[in-house]
């Protein structure tokens, strides 16, 4: 099938992408990088491709409903949101603006994902091992004070996509959107 994006589809993609993330409302779905495509059939039937951040992300259903509602408000009669898995979402899909907003919101944004998947996390069985491993990884900065002296408290936090860390300079705990 030959598809070309029309001006209206581009506009609808922008509208779908402007929907805020249900769990991190400072980010839009476009900034999170999860709205893949919008296809218009006829004049008022539209199909949206959405990719989940994590396979089990429970926010997908809320995102779908929000997209449907928003596009209905913009005159679309029939809206179908389809979940696509391929290519797999990566934290590299978060836009630069998205990263800036995360940091402003108090969440350390993900570092660039290396070729071989997630960056190895630095919590070792002992503090000495932790320090040795941490020195190899790209430092992660505290979103509050900017210090690079932070430690991992738990590799899983309030949602699947975040890890819980603590800043050793300002002592504040913070979430880190972990690399995927």
């Amino acid at each position: 099938m030959v598809t070309t994006t029309t001006a209206l589809e581009a506009e609808l993609l922008e509208i779908a992408g402007s929907v805020p993330d249900p769990e991190l409302p400072v980010l839009t779905l476009h900034e999170l990088g999860v709205v893949r495509a919008v296809r218009l059939h006829g004049t008022d039937t539209v199909e949206v491709e959405l990719t989940p951040t994590y396979t089990g992300c429970p926010a997908v259903e809320a995102m779908s409903l929000d997209i449907e509602r928003t596009l209905h408000e913009h005159g679309m009669r029939e809206v179908t949101v389809r979940t696509v898995l391929t290519p797999a979402w990566s934290t590299d899909d978060i836009t630069a603006e998205g990263r800036r907003k995360l940091r402003e919101f108090g969440i350390a944004p993900p570092r660039a994902v290396r070729e071989h998947g997630p960056v190895p996390l630095a919590l070792g069985p002992t503090r000495a091992l932790h320090a040795a491993e941490a020195s190899e990884a790209e430092p992660l900065h505290c979103p509050h004070c900017g210090s690079a002296d932070t430690e991992l408290l738990s590799r899983f936090s309030s949602t699947a996509c975040k890890a819980l860390r603590r800043c050793l300079s300002c002592r504040e705990p913070f979430d880190h959107f972990k690399e995927l």
Partner: protein
């Protein structure tokens, strides 16, 4: 998976995994394999969920719940490839489940849960990496899930090191758990219809990885059999161990008591 069943316009039956069905993969084969892998994920997810409210520390409770959620997401997609996800999860009898016996083993103490996680996540990570590199019907899901499972494996490895190389008590408990679950590990490498895998490569990589972690943790690699008469492993044929029935009863109770109810 929602409890009870809900119907929305965008359930996971719509999921597009961009299948490139290999010539030797029949529809039946794909369904059989989806059921086996989906049941592994579903049952382990439920077991991990049992820790909620009982984990040793809050961070760990959140970690186990997050891992359970990742597995539930995989289960939803896999079971939807085999049929209706809710019917499969909530309305099948014990003999119809195709998960390996390892994942249905009770949580035991925290060391047993970690040993089960180490054995299973090491296997699942290698399995998904192989499937992701192929062009079969599971490549799309595997490419996504392999990145999540890398964190599960890392979590299990770090805890194995902590417990194995920790106090005398933690060492003894971790050793006991690793030994107790060892006989369930051979089953993960039995052939599954519909999965085109290098099983020998999968098993040798698994053994190498697990041996390496146990060695670093100061634990002894168990010597018991992983295959043959004294090992376990008929879960893929629908034969399960005694603790599985009560687990299923709890998991299915709400859906069976209130059929068709919604939130």
């Amino acid at each position: 998976m929602t409890t009870p069943a809900t119907t929305t316009a965008h359930t996971h039956s719509d999921v597009d995994t961009h299948d490139h069905t290999a010539a030797d993969t029949t529809v039946d084969g794909t369904r059989t394999a989806a059921l086996a892998l989906g049941d592994d994920a579903l049952v382990l997810s439920h077991r991990l969920g049992e820790w909620i409210g009982h984990a040793p520390v809050l961070e760990e409770e959140v970690a186990l719940a997050n891992i359970a959620l990742d597995l539930l997401g995989q289960a939803r997609i896999l079971l939807s490839m085999a049929g209706d996800e809710d019917e499969l999860a909530y309305l099948r009898e014990e003999r119809a489940f195709r998960n390996v016996q390892l994942v249905e083993q009770p949580n035991g103490d925290f060391a047993h849960t970690i040993a089960r996680q180490l054995y299973f996540s090491t296997y699942q990570h290698l399995l998904y990496a192989q499937l992701a590199a192929g062009t079969g019907p599971f490549a799309g899901l595997a490419a996504k899930a392999v990145k999540e499972v890398a964190y599960h494996r890392d979590h299990a490895e770090q805890w194995t090191l902590r417990l194995g190389d920790g106090t005398d008590v933690s060492h003894e408990r971790m050793q006991r758990a690793c030994t107790a679950l060892w006989r369930f590990t051979g089953e993960m490498f039995h052939p599954v219809n519909g999965l085109d895998l290098d099983r020998a490569g999968l098993e040798s990589a698994w053994l190498e990885s697990v041996r390496e972690v146990l060695g670093r943790a100061g634990l002894t690699v168990p010597e018991g059999p992983r295959t043959g008469a004294w090992s376990a492993g008929a879960g893929r044929e629908g034969l399960h161990t005694e603790p599985f029935g009560p687990m299923l009863a709890e998991m299915q109770h709400l859906h069976r008591s209130h059929p068709g109810a919604s939130w």
